[in-house]
Symmetry: C2
Subunit: 376 residues, 2 copies
Amino acid sequence: MEKKSSFALRLDKIYDWMAEEGIALLMLEDTESRRDQNIRWFTGHPGDALLFLSVDRQAILAAWDINLAKLHATLPPEAIFSYNDFDRKPSKAIAAVAKKLGIPIGSRVEIPSVTPYPLFLDFVGELTDFDILCRNKGSGAEINKFRAVKDDEEIAIIKKAAGITNELIDSIEKNVKSGKIKTEADAALFIEMEARSHGCEGTSFDTLAAGPDRSFAIHAFPTWTNAPFGTKGLSILDFGVKLNGYCTDVTITFARDLDEKQEKLIELTEKAAKLAISMAHNGTMTRDIAAAVDRLFSKSKKKMPHALGHGVGLQEHEYPLVRNSSENDWELSAGMIFTIEPGLYDPLLGGCRLENDVLITESGHEVLTTARIIRL
Amino acid sequence: MEKKSSFALRLDKIYDWMAEEGIALLMLEDTESRRDQNIRWFTGHPGDALLFLSVDRQAILAAWDINLAKLHATLPPEAIFSYNDFDRKPSKAIAAVAKKLGIPIGSRVEIPSVTPYPLFLDFVGELTDFDILCRNKGSGAEINKFRAVKDDEEIAIIKKAAGITNELIDSIEKNVKSGKIKTEADAALFIEMEARSHGCEGTSFDTLAAGPDRSFAIHAFPTWTNAPFGTKGLSILDFGVKLNGYCTDVTITFARDLDEKQEKLIELTEKAAKLAISMAHNGTMTRDIAAAVDRLFSKSKKKMPHALGHGVGLQEHEYPLVRNSSENDWELSAGMIFTIEPGLYDPLLGGCRLENDVLITESGHEVLTTARIIRL
């Protein structure tokens, strides 16, 4: 028997779930104002499309760029349409697809939970014969749960991306130390170039390079400038690479000639990272890890102004959540990959963040990346 | 009397509109999954925040990064809060702000039209004492209309950004001709570097550099690789720079050793650009321009698979719409800045697009950028 592709196995999961939930038709949308990597996850097509899945296991893709879709989507050519065929209107497309696939009147049809309220009303108007669902705890949440646990193919890709990231960390350290990287721009462009020459699609997000004058902000604005980098004080470099769609996300802090208060920020951040990673294993609630870090910081009267981490995968931010909030009920399980990124920021002292990507295994964890505090 | 800042004048416009519409409180949101440049337009703060505006002309900003907000937002410090103060929940924040500002019970309160349906239900649940509005033709549409017509300060910034873009076009032409730019990566990195060294925040979007093997796609995927650029056939370079938040957007096509069919694509694209620009003036409906281009192409049995253009400003895609659709009722008026970007694509021949940014003036138009077909 032919081995099923990862894409086919993923589709199987959602078709099974649809059958259990009694959902006849599901629509996914990736568009400029509402990005959704699920279409890529299910089909390989990288974006700007509608994907329709029916409980009788048929998939239809309506793509903005049909040439690109035929190249990338792992669907038969006859299942790929141009979005223009439906006047680029999701509500019109879903009505046409429901008819084409013979979805019985009265069926439950689910649209994305991010559908804006006014657009939701359009769907209701267009699909009067169906029961429209638009729910936070519906198919989108279910797919996110699937995606939070990576399959073997995904783990292999992310490990490869992490390897490239680690090579980059080493070369950046070397080049900052040698004086070849002198500015934020030098660091950011070096990463852009190296990512592509290692076969990546690009970086996971705009590289954030903030020298000592700008590192006080969680995410400096603009993301990088021609300002000095790696000079006296704390410099932050937050970046990731994207390989076959999969993101890494790390932050290195460079430290030069620190005063006592800046040393304290570094010391606490390193301690927090170590503590958090030591707690990362199958069955742990992520909020407990984040709470432990918050407690560590508060003993020194410090407060971290952002979450401790987040999942990484086709998006640079995905599930599981890793934050100290009573509503966060994510429990770690084998196959999850997420960041641990404690950080402390001060308008006068500058900022310090240490971020690595961690994979949960059956027996514990594996830290995939080698970000660190680098002393100059 | 002190001259009002552009920000204050923009706030005046929306406060006046709120009074006319009987809206007591307005919420704007900029967040990772729902970007909204309106907060930057009204306050200068570049992002990740909620902005509340009340009909009695008070503004409150709840920012994810309060240090950054205090640096950038043109609001008094006492009007700037941390988003964490509201547990990072928009529905909780709006309830607290309504109380703080003394918004009378029963008032009309408007939330963004892009609010997902399930989140809309949260607002309704939290704000039981108010009349919640979430409308496509509400405040968001009104602000978009304001923003489609640039004020003098915006025109000055975009002209400066266009000047930088034009310098870049010239240097790219020189470097492709001299052989210094040989690959897609060379072109993309050259633009990244030059944009920043000219004082830009960065590029408007991921530069799209597609050599002859990949130019058939409207937006090649990935946006750039190490593939050859400017070799035999058609190469597309679509890029823009972002200066003080404002975007340019141009596309150059490089042509080398074309066959007759490829020459035809170029000829038609240039003709279409010329025709469209000649029609661009105060009072013209943008759909008439787009329809004229469609007719031109269809005479040669060609079809453009995307819109003819779009507004540019704080976003790389904004209003006015410039497309051939019966629902598009945008009429050009002085101060509008938008792209004209005819293009034709063929899986075998490659693609060709020519995109420039056009400003409508009282007496006609001004083409701000100098993108062109460059023959090698």
